[in-house]
C-alpha cells in the first residue's frame, strides 16, 4: 500500500510524511513549507550536480568516439571515475587571480554562471509528479535565466584584465543576444499551440501530437539558436583557441574554471531537456498510447522521468553531434546568418502559426496536423528557393565581374 503510494506520487508522499513528522515536533505551518521546499530543492540540485559529473564523462567519451579515440579509460571501469579525479584535481589546484583583476567581480562571475544554469532546474518538468514548480511564466523564466548567464560571461571577461578574455566576452555576448531573438520567437510557437506558458501545460498539450511535427521549422530554428546560446561549436567564437587562446575564461583556474565548464555541460543537457519539453512531448507525448490499458504504466512518474531523461540525453547528444562535426563560423557570417536569415524566418513561422492555429481550429485533429505541417513545408521550400535564386544571382554577378576583369 505505502509502496504503491510512493511509486505513484513520490514527492507528495514524502511531503505528507514529513509534514506529519514536523507537525508532531511542533513546527509552524509556514516553517514546514520552507523546510519541505528546501529539502526538495536540495535533492533536485544534488541530482543535477551528480548528473553534471556524469555528463563530463559522457562528453569526453562521446567526443573521443567522434574523433576515433578511446577517451578516458584508465580510472575505474570505462574511465567512469575520471570526472571525480578531475574534480579533486580542480579543487586542490592553486587558484590564480591575475594582478590587476577586478577581484570581487572576478569571483562572482563563475558563481553566477553556475546559478543561472542550476536555476533552470526549478522549472524542469521531470515527470507529471516530479518537478520543482509549475510556473505560469515558465517559458519566459527560461529566457531570464539565460540573461543571467550572459551577464556572468561579460563580468568574467571584463574582470580578468585580459584583452583576449574581454574580446571573447564581447563576441560571446553579441552572439548570445543576437540568437536570443530567434529563440524567443520560436518559444512563442509552443505557447500559441498549447495556449499556455507553463511547461506542464505545454507537455500535456503534446500528449496527442508533438509540436515538432506541427511546426518542424520552429524546432530547427530553436535548435540552432539554442546551440548558439550555449556558445557551442559551430558558434563557439568565445573560445576560438586559434585567435583568443581560451576566450572569456582564459584567466580562470582551479574550481572557478571548473564551474564555467560544469555549467556549460549542464546547460547543454538542460537545453536538451527543454527541447524535449517544448517540441517532443517532454515526459509524455506517446501519441495517446498511454490511454490504452496495456500501456498504462507509461504514466508512472518514475517511467516518465526516465523517458524525459532519455529524450534530454538524445537532445544533448544531438548538440554534441553538431559540435564535433562542424567547423567554427566566422563572426560576420554568424551575425549575418542570424539577423538576415533566422530572425526573418522565425517571424514568418510565428505569423504563420498564429494565423493557421486560428483558421484550422475547427478542423479534425488529422486535418489540423496536416495543415500545420504542410504550411511549414511550404515555407521551408520557398525559403530554400529564395536562397538558391539569391545564390545564383550572386554567382552570375561574380562571373560577369571576373569576365570583365579578364577582358
Amino acid at each position: 500500500m505505502t509502496l504503491a503510494g510512493f511509486l505513484n506520487d513520490p514527492i507528495n508522499f514524502v511531503a505528507q510524511w514529513l509534514t506529519g513528522l514536523l507537525t508532531g515536533w511542533g513546527f509552524s505551518n509556514g516553517l514546514i513549507t520552507v523546510i519541505l521546499y528546501f529539502i526538495g530543492i536540495l535533492v533536485l540540485v544534488v541530482f543535477a550536480m551528480l548528473l553534471d559529473i556524469g555528463l563530463v564523462w559522457v562528453e569526453r567519451k562521446v567526443v573521443a568516439r567522434f574523433q576515433d579515440r578511446l577517451g578516458p579509460n584508465r580510472i575505474g571501469p570505462f574511465g567512469l571515475i575520471q570526472p571525480i579525479a578531475d574534480i579533486i584535481k580542480l579543487v586542490i589546484k592553486e587558484d590564480i587571480t591575475p594582478a590587476g583583476a577586478d577581484k570581487v567581480v572576478f569571483n562572482i562571475a563563475p558563481v553566477l554562471a553556475a546559478m543561472s544554469v542550476i536555476s533552470l532546474w526549478a522549472i524542469l518538468p521531470l515527470s507529471s509528479k516530479i518537478f520543482g514548480v509549475d510556473l505560469n511564466v515558465a517559458v519566459l523564466y527560461l529566457v531570464a535565466a539565460g540573461a543571467l548567464g550572459t551577464l556572468s560571461i561579460i563580468m568574467g571577461g571584463w574582470a580578468s584584465n585580459n584583452k583576449y578574455a574581454l574580446l571573447g566576452a564581447f563576441r560571446m555576448v553579441a552572439n548570445m543576444v543576437s540568437y536570443e531573438i530567434p529563440m524567443v520567437v520560436t518559444l512563442l510557437i509552443p505557447v500559441i499551440l498549447a495556449d499556455t506558458m507553463s511547461v506542464q501545460g505545454i507537455t500535456q498539450a503534446q500528449s496527442g501530437m508533438w509540436f515538432a511535427i506541427l511546426s518542424p521549422l520552429a524546432f530547427v530554428i530553436f535548435f540552432i539558436s539554442a546551440i548558439a546560446e550555449l556558445g557551442r561549436s559551430p558558434f563557439d567564437l568565445v573560445e576560438a583557441e586559434s585567435e583568443l587562446t581560451a576566450g572569456f575564461n582564459v584567466e580562470y583556474s582551479g574550481m572557478k574554471f571548473g564551474w564555467f565548464y560544469a555549467s556549460e555541460l549542464l546547460h547543454a543537457f538542460t537545453f536538451g531537456g527543454f527541447m524535449a519539453v517544448l517540441f517532443f512531448g517532454g515526459y509524455g507525448g506517446f501519441f495517446g498510447l498511454e490511454k490504452l490499458s496495456a500501456f498504462h504504466w507509461l504514466t508512472n512518474p518514475f517511467i516518465q522521468a526516465a523517458v524525459f531523461i532519455a529524450k534530454a540525453m538524445f537532445g544533448y547528444w544531438a548538440i554534441m553531434w553538431v559540435k564535433y562535426s562542424m567547423p567554427r563560423i566566422r563572426i560576420d557570417h554568424m551575425l549575418a546568418f542570424n539577423w538576415k536569415f533566422l530572425v526573418p524566418l522565425s517571424l514568418v513561422v510565428l505569423v504563420n502559426t498564429a494565423i493557421l492555429n486560428k483558421l484550422l481550429a475547427g478542423l479534425p485533429a488529422w486535418g489540423y496536423t496536416l495543415g500545420m505541417f504542410l504550411s511549414n513545408v511550404i515555407i521551408g521550400v520557398v525559403t530554400i528557393e529564395i536562397l538558391r535564386a539569391y545564390g545564383r544571382k550572386q554567382r552570375k554577378s561574380e562571373q560577369t565581374l571576373a569576365q570583365a576583369m579578364r577582358n
Partner: protein
C-alpha cells in the same frame, strides 16, 4: 512582523543600497553592475506583488538587454577619463539637498493620504492575471492603441538610434 514583511525589508535595503552605489561609485562599470542588483531587487518586489510576468520580464529586459547595452556603451567610451578624479559635479550637494527635500515632501504626502496603510486583498482563485493582461493589451475597448503605439515608439527608437550611431558608414 511577518515573514513577507521581513523579506520586503531585506529586498528594500538591497534595492536602496544598490541604488546608492549606482549614483556614488566611481567606476562606471561597477555602477552598471550595481544597477543590475537594484533592478533584480525590483524584480523580486514584482514577484512579491504577484506580478510574475513583470518580474520575469524585468530580468529579461532590464538585466538581459538594457544592462548589457549600458556595459557595451561604457566599454565603447573608455579611452579618456579612466574613471579617475571626481565623478560628480562640484555642486553635488545641491542635488543631494534637492533629493532629500523631494523625498521628505513625498513621504509627508504619502503618510498623510487616507487609506494608505491598506493591505492587499487576496486575488480570487479564478482570476488569471496573466491572461487578463494579454486580453487587455489587445482588445479594442482596452489598450490596443498603446500596444500599437509602443511598436511605433520602438521603431522610431531603432531608426533614430541606428541613424545617430551611423558611425559614418555608407552603403
Amino acid at each position: 512582523m511577518t515573514a513577507d514583511k521581513i523579506i520586503f525589508l531585506l529586498i528594500g535595503v538591497l534595492i536602496l543600497v544598490s541604488a546608492l552605489m549606482v549614483v556614488t561609485t566611481r567606476k562606471l562599470i561597477h555602477a552598471a553592475l550595481w544597477l543590475v542588483a537594484a533592478l533584480f531587487g525590483v524584480a523580486v518586489l514584482y514577484a512579491i506583488l504577484q506580478a510574475g510576468f513583470l518580474a520575469v520580464v524585468q530580468v529579461v529586459v532590464y538585466i538581459g538587454a538594457i544592462a548589457i547595452l549600458f556595459i557595451f556603451a561604457v566599454m565603447l567610451t573608455r579611452r579618456d577619463m579612466r574613471d579617475q578624479g571626481p565623478q560628480t559635479r562640484s555642486n553635488w550637494w545641491i542635488a543631494a539637498l534637492l533629493g532629500l527635500l523631494i523625498l521628505a515632501g513625498l513621504v509627508f504626502l504619502i503618510i498623510n493620504q487616507p487609506d494608505v496603510e491598506r493591505t492587499a486583498a487576496v486575488i480570487p482563485a479564478g482570476v488569471d492575471t496573466l491572461r487578463n493582461l494579454g486580453t487587455a493589451l489587445v482588445s479594442p475597448d482596452a489598450y490596443v492603441l498603446p500596444f500599437e503605439v509602443a511598436s511605433v515608439l520602438l521603431l522610431a527608437a531603432l531608426v533614430g538610434a541606428v541613424y545617430i550611431a551611423g558611425f559614418g558608414k555608407k552603403s
